[in-house]
């Protein structure tokens, strides 16, 4: 009996809600679990720049949605992943449960991290969480799909747009996430997936002035951390180094994916009414 000739799939980048090939036209060959050769698009500096531009545009509308709605969208991603479970890599259940975990934070984390500060004057003073903006994230390849969803969901729940930088060797998990994202309700650009040479992509990200934060899994980036911090000095970039994805981000880790913004609002009625009218 002659075996059916299977269809090979090149794993593409996922940027702005679209699957694209690298502008460079380059691919990297990897081996999948069945030891078959798979070609993975190799994201270039230009691809990254474009992804950052698109992520930047997505930040305002994403952060502007209600926290409830962002939670709904995250939960919908879990539904999409669950539906694809038979085709996902082993252990994907943990990744799906992690998305559900973060979905639940969406309309609660602000209550845990914000504060109403009793200042000694007639002002209402509160400290709120404000998204960082665009975060480039490098999960640990050893964490597979779980690492990807942890980085993406933690950032999404805090209102950031993310560019996931994935070593081509973990491209299978990247494709699993991207394909679920494409059928979820995530607006294009909020979570972008770039595969390629990780160190190369990280250096390009560190050199880019419009990246607000770098999210680094220790296992993926330990040897590069010094260089990345030094490059970030130019723009005083926020760095969050996480040990890995075994546990979900704690509230204080989520806090580091946001800025504390302190707002003072005068609670004092100018005497005799406002004289400017």
């Amino acid at each position: 009996m002659s075996a059916r000739l299977t269809i090979d799939k090149t794993l593409k980048l996922y940027v702005g809600g679209k699957f694209i090939r690298s502008e460079s036209g380059r691919t990297m060959p990897i081996e999948d679990e069945d030891h078959r050769a798979v070609n993975v698009a190799r994201g270039s500096r230009k691809d990254l720049r474009e992804a950052i531009r698109i992520a930047r545009a997505a930040t305002g509308p994403w952060a502007g949605r209600t926290a409830y709605n962002r939670g709904q969208i995250l939960y919908r991603l879990a539904e999409m992943l669950e539906g694809r479970l038979p085709s996902l890599s082993p252990g994907a259940e943990a990744a799906i449960d992690r998305v559900v975990h973060h979905a639940g934070w969406s309309d609660k984390i602000a209550a845990v991290l914000s504060a109403l500060n009793p200042v000694s004057t007639t002002y209402v003073n509160y400290a709120r969480m404000r998204p960082l903006g665009v975060v480039c994230a490098a999960p640990d390849p050893a964490d597979g799909l779980l690492g990807l969803v942890e980085a993406a969901a933690a950032n999404a729940v805090m209102g950031n747009a993310t560019v996931l930088l994935i070593d081509a060797r973990s491209a299978t998990a990247a494709a699993e996430l991207a394909e679920a994202l494409a059928t979820s309700d995530f607006p294009g650009g909020v979570i972008n997936v770039l595969t390629g040479e990780l160190a190369e992509l990280l250096h390009h990200a560190a050199d880019h002035d419009d990246v607000d934060g770098l999210y680094l899994a220790h296992g993926a980036t330990a040897s590069l951390q010094g260089e990345l911090e030094a490059a970030g000095a130019r723009v005083l970039r926020r760095m969050l180094v996480v040990p890995g994805a075994a546990r979900p981000a704690t509230p204080i880790q989520l806090q580091k994916l946001a800025e504390v913004q302190t707002v003072w609002v005068s609670a004092y009625e100018p005497q005799g009414g406002a004289p400017g009218y």
Partner: protein, 492 residues
């Protein structure tokens, strides 16, 4: 409306008011020579390292200060480490808190003396040191004293421990207040400290050392090394320092970030700013005028969170500027130790020249320069009259760069969107003000600003319970409030 009619009499305040001096009389002797405070002892420092600190109001020498070299910094760090290991790190929080309460009280008791010393050293009016700086210094110690035994509640769901030895480098614009902002949370959380005051304002920190000794704070918990950039670099590079907390320029913040990259040292950076002060047509305009004055002329504008860009809604711009100018012409500039003084001296001759250079750059780039005050600017000392730059563009140097002086660049806008865009069109993100009586607009604009602090119908307000710190190139980490504890805690 607010338009001044041509028939209105013009106020001519300069020379019209008899300005009788009301000098502050509390004596505060200035030591001839300042050394360091290491391991609980005042040490004289090396003779060959002495440099002169000048009194900004007169330009005369004030005292001699020793600069610590790497070896002296090492002794300070060693003392801090030993104090951390032996007493402070493991001390029950309630006991640590009691030391901080003691220090706070002692500061209150000696606050006038400290205020006088600060005004002489820094050049800022006694009205500010007495009514703003010193009350806040004591308040910061009181506030964080109360946190010391409640750290289990500082980070949700986490057990915490101190970071270790903190190197703290502070600026000259609020010398003692910045020392308090740095020391109080560090000590409350169980860290020990090596503090480096700015080279032009060492006086009050050394008097604080006296207070710490009087409070019987265990030796080595706080060490103070004087000196300039080289001393700071020795502290930053010292391998025994676990954390650096820096307040100063963005330029130096970058250098420190680079120097510590990959070292595992934790950082907080409180850097420069170019704050926007947005005045909508529906604001309470008299209050807004006061706010703009406070925003830019408080401490001669040498404030990282100064409202140095005034954005006025176009329809009221001319009338608002008239009001602002009239108010500026009532500001008294001169002797910082005169209780009537509104505007004192800039801190150093370098700062004076820097501000003058920026005014000149503004002029060359086409700005109209207007200066006003109620009395002539003193000829001796480092004084610059309150300055408005009008006719400037978003791209002008004086609109983009931090001047750190009493110089306000004036721009206009038409819509809230334009105001937000212009306010955010800067690499900084420290503080901003919004003036409107319309609540919905107020919240929308306030939340849209890339700014760590937003004052809605206010300016330059500070409180120990209120987190302060920047976004973007203005740095990271917060000082004040519960968020001010986070940079000094490790998760257990």
């Amino acid at each position: 409306m607010n338009q001044q009619k041509p028939s209105d009499p013009t106020l001519k305040l300069r020379g019209a008011l008899p300005l009788a001096p009301a000098p502050e009389r509390c004596p505060a002797p200035v030591p001839e020579r300042l050394g360091h405070f290491i391991g609980g002892e005042v040490v004289p420092g090396r003779d060959e390292s002495l440099f002169t600190s000048y009194e900004p109001a007169t330009g005369e020498p004030l005292c001699q200060v020793a600069a610590a070299d790497a070896e002296e910094v090492d002794r300070a760090v060693t003392a801090a480490r030993s104090a951390f290991d032996r007493v402070w790190g493991g001390m029950p929080g309630a006991e640590r808190g009691k030391y901080l309460y003691r220090i706070a009280r002692r500061i209150q008791e000696r606050s006038r003396e400290l205020a006088v010393l600060e005004s002489r050293d820094n050049g800022k009016p006694i009205r500010e040191t007495r009514d703003v700086d010193l009350p806040l210094v004591a308040a910061h110690f009181f506030y964080y004293a109360g946190w010391a035994d409640k750290l289990d509640y500082a980070i949700p769901g986490q057990r915490v421990r101190p970071v270790g030895v903190a190197g703290q480098i502070i600026p000259w614009n609020f010398p003692l207040l910045m020392a308090a902002w740095k020391l109080a949370p560090a000590l409350a959380t169980g860290n020990t400290v090596v503090l480096k005051p700015a080279e032009t304002t060492p006086l009050t920190a050394m008097m604080l050392a006296e207070i710490l000794a009087e409070a019987e704070l265990p030796p080595g918990v706080v060490n103070i090394v004087n000196g300039a950039g080289a001393t700071g670099a020795a502290l930053v590079d010292h391998p025994g320092v676990d954390k650096i907390a820096f307040t100063g320029s963005t330029e130096v913040g970058r250098i420190i970030t680079r120097a510590t990259a990959g070292s595992g040292k934790r950082l907080t950076m409180e850097l420069g700013g170019k704050g926007a002060n947005i005045v909508f047509a529906d604001a309470a305009l008299d209050q807004a005028v006061e706010g703009v004055i406070d925003g830019i002329f408080f401490n001669q504008g040498q404030v990282c969170c100064a409202g140095s860009r005034l954005l006025i809604e176009e329809g009221i711009a001319a009338a608002f500027l008239d009001r602002l100018k009239r108010r500026i012409e009532t500001l008294r500039i001169g002797d910082p130790l005169d209780k009537n003084t509104d505007v004192g001296a800039l801190n150093s001759v370098e700062q004076l020249q820097r501000v003058q250079r920026y005014i000149e750059i503004g002029r060359r780039q086409g700005a109209a320069v207007w200066q006003g005050s109620a009395c002539p600017t003193p000829e001796q000392g480092y004084f610059v009259a309150p300055t408005l730059l009008t006719g400037v563009q978003q791209t002008d140097t004086v609109v983009r760069e931090e001047i750190f002086g009493p110089v306000l660049s004036v721009l206009t806008f038409r819509t809230p969107d334009e105001a937000i865009r212009k306010a955010n069109d800067t690499e900084y993100g420290l503080a901003a003000s919004v003036w409107t009586e319309k609540a919905s607009k107020l919240f929308e604009v306030a939340h849209a600003l890339n700014s760590g602090v937003v004052w809605a119908n206010g300016a330059n307000l500070f409180d120990p319970a209120s987190p302060f710190g920047g976004m973007r190139h203005s740095g990271f980490g917060r000082e004040g409030g519960i968020a001010g504890l986070w940079p000094y805690l490790e998760i257990q």
